[in-house]
Amino acid sequence: MFKIFKYSFFDLIRSTWSLVYLLFFLVITSAILYMSGDLTKAIISMMNVILMLIPLVSTVFGAIYLYNSREFAELLLAQPIKRKSFFLGQYLGLSISLTVSFLIGVGLPFIFWGVIGSKYLSNFLVLMGVGLLLGFIFSLLSYWVALRFENRIKGFGFALFIWLFMSVIYDGIFLLILIWFESYPTENLAIILTLFNPIDLGRVLIMLFLDTSALMGYTGAVFYKFFGALNGILISSMTLFLWIIIPVFFLVRYANKKDF
């Protein structure tokens, strides 16, 4: 598994796409830092960028990569290699190469601006952690979709739909539910619904660590009480990890019985 990982990791990290991805983050982070000149504001702006782009790029990139390396996969699967270690190795290569681009692209400008040693370090770390986990989750989802659908168009369509669903449609349904149950106390329901969507969960985690929670009034206080306490942090990081573990389980099970 490690060999496969190494191989696909170096294959990906040398590709133009990773470089473009890295440069994109470098440019946009430096631009935001330069324009706002203020670490908190830059973190908020980067939050919007990260919550939208990382899932999107991971999704598209993951699907492209898997479809392109199909021949390679068929070749290797003819060798005496466990399917599990091949697919997991390739998945790790994919997600870690994306993550490395992200970490360097966003991290370097922030470090250059002196985020280490400032009091915003914890906010910054939460931001990076959320970006990292979102990268892992969405490349995993697209990887699974690409494996599932032989037809590239269908696969891409479905992967993009997952992204659209998670970042927009889910929130729409969320809002409708809150409107339907307007006359009931919906704070706990809102917390549960947030836990089920990694993008929302990431957003709420970042916002609670910033000062924005004060804008949410009573609701913010309820959320803060939940997410700010040890239990809340444990539960939310556990759900984020579940978003990796459960799809990995399904991925491995599916990869084991798939005909090539």
């Binding site: 809002l175 957003r203 949410m216």
Partner: protein, 415 residues
């Protein structure tokens, strides 16, 4: 320099009255302030030299001037009230009064005045006191240049601290250039009419920076209220003028830059609201002119609740607020014309500096939050940006009378 000049004037004045001057000094024949007060006659001056004095309760019953040299430290032996003033025209200048303990039966203060006029309290340091300066039923007093600070403790709550400057049933007062920190309310006024509060610095108080009720015809000019627990709350008053004040960093879920409740016929002009959860919260307030203020980086610049009518907002700058305006209730008589809104994106074809498209400061999402508070968890999500944009392009749900018909294209510059 001014202090010496003032002392000179006081000396000349007292010489003119042939009043006596007593000097209190440690290790001398007159080493205690309370004996000096007993010996003194009306109009005398007592000089207190530097040192630490433990005194029994100091009751002043005739006009007297007490001047400290290099801030002599004065404490009550039982850590209770230090000065109780029961006479007109008492001046207390340049003392350091400290350590008045919390008491749930009596409101002990460093200086307490009851039913007097013409007093003056200047250049004092009041440290770690329950109440700082407390005046009741008094008039024409001056409270100037005092530094009033409590030591912050672990369990800070509203009940175990007093107000720094506390006025009750007073009129024609001047509160000027004081600095108050870590008390319950920085400046508390109840039933105080025709008074001026000017150039004070009020920081880090547990409850309100400025808290006044039932106080009419007052002026609040060039004060700074920063990082107070709940900001500034003003209630049940008429004919108030607030000018050139700074309301800053009052951040928290129940914190307001300026909370107006039942305020009428008042003017709020050229104030600076910076980084407050809510810039101005308004409820039941009528006929207020809110002109030429700057609202910068607040969560909500304005929250207008029901039964606020005929208020005018004009020539204000709204810069980078998360929400510019939230309106609850159906009042249609407030005017929002002629402001600068940094979120305005209209055009100006005739180049007259006024946007040709009316601006709607109420975002759809701020209405949704108003109705369903728990939806605030969706703040800053992509969906919210999309529905706000859709609503901006073709308004359906936001009320159509809430408009700035003449939005400025450029921020106003006030001289």
């Amino acid at each position: 320099m001014r202090r010496y000049l003032f002392i000179l004037v006081v000396i000349l004045y007292s010489a003119l009255l042939k009043a006596e001057v007593l000097k209190v000094r440690l290790n001398s024949s007159l080493s205690s302030l309370h004996i000096a007060i007993k010996k003194s006659h009306a109009g005398d001056t007592i000089w207190v030299e530097a040192g630490s004095y433990k005194e029994p309760p100091l009751l002043i019953e005739h006009p007297l001037t007490i001047i400290g040299i290099d801030y002599p430290v004065i404490e009550n032996t039982k850590r209770e009230e230090i000065f109780t003033i029961e006479s007109d025209s008492v001046n207390i200048i340049g003392l350091q009064l400290q350590n008045v303990d919390v008491n749930y039966v009596n409101d002990f203060a460093a200086i307490k005045v009851n039913k007097q006029e013409g007093c003056k309290f200047e250049n004092n340091h009041i440290l770690n006191s329950f109440f700082g300066i407390m005046l009741k039923n008094s008039s024409t007093c001056i409270i100037r240049n005092n530094y009033i600070k409590r030591n912050p403790t672990e369990e800070e709550d509203e009940m175990s601290t007093g107000n720094a400057i506390h006025l009750w049933y007073c009129r024609d007062m001047l509160i000027e250039k004081n600095e108050t920190r870590n008390h319950r309310d920085g400046i508390y006024l109840e039933f105080v009419d025709r008074s001026i509060v000017r150039e004070n610095l009020v920081v880090d108080n547990i409850r309100y920076g400025l808290h006044f009720m039932f106080s009419d015809h007052d002026q609040y000019i060039a004060n700074t209220f920063r990082s107070n627990g709940a900001g500034v709350a003003v209630m049940f008053s008429k004919y108030i003028i607030m000018k050139n004040n700074h309301f800053e960093y009052n951040w928290g879920s129940s914190s307001y830059g300026l909370l107006l409740k039942d305020i009428t016929d008042s003017e709020i002009i050229r104030n600076y609201f910076n980084t407050n959860t809510t810039g101005i919260y308004m409820e039941g307030s009528n006929r207020i002119k809110i002109f030429e203020n700057i609202f910068n980086q607040n969560g909500w610049a304005l929250k207008i609740y029901g039964s606020s009518n005929e208020n005018q907002f004009s020539r204000n700058n709204f810069l980078n607020n998360s929400f510019e305006l939230s309106v609850f209730g159906r009042s249609t008589t407030n005017k929002y014309d002629g402001n600068y809104w940094s979120l305005y994106t209209g055009y100006d074809l005739d180049k007259n500096g006024i946007g040709d498209v009316p601006y709607r400061p109420v975002k759809l999402f701020s209405r949704i939050i108003g109705k369903i508070p728990s939806s605030s968890i969706l703040m800053r999500s992509l969906l919210i940006d999309i529905i706000n944009f859709a609503e901006k392009v073709s308004p359906v749900l936001t009320p159509d009378y809430l408009m700035d018909h003449q939005p400025s294209k450029k921020p106003f510059v006030y001289d």
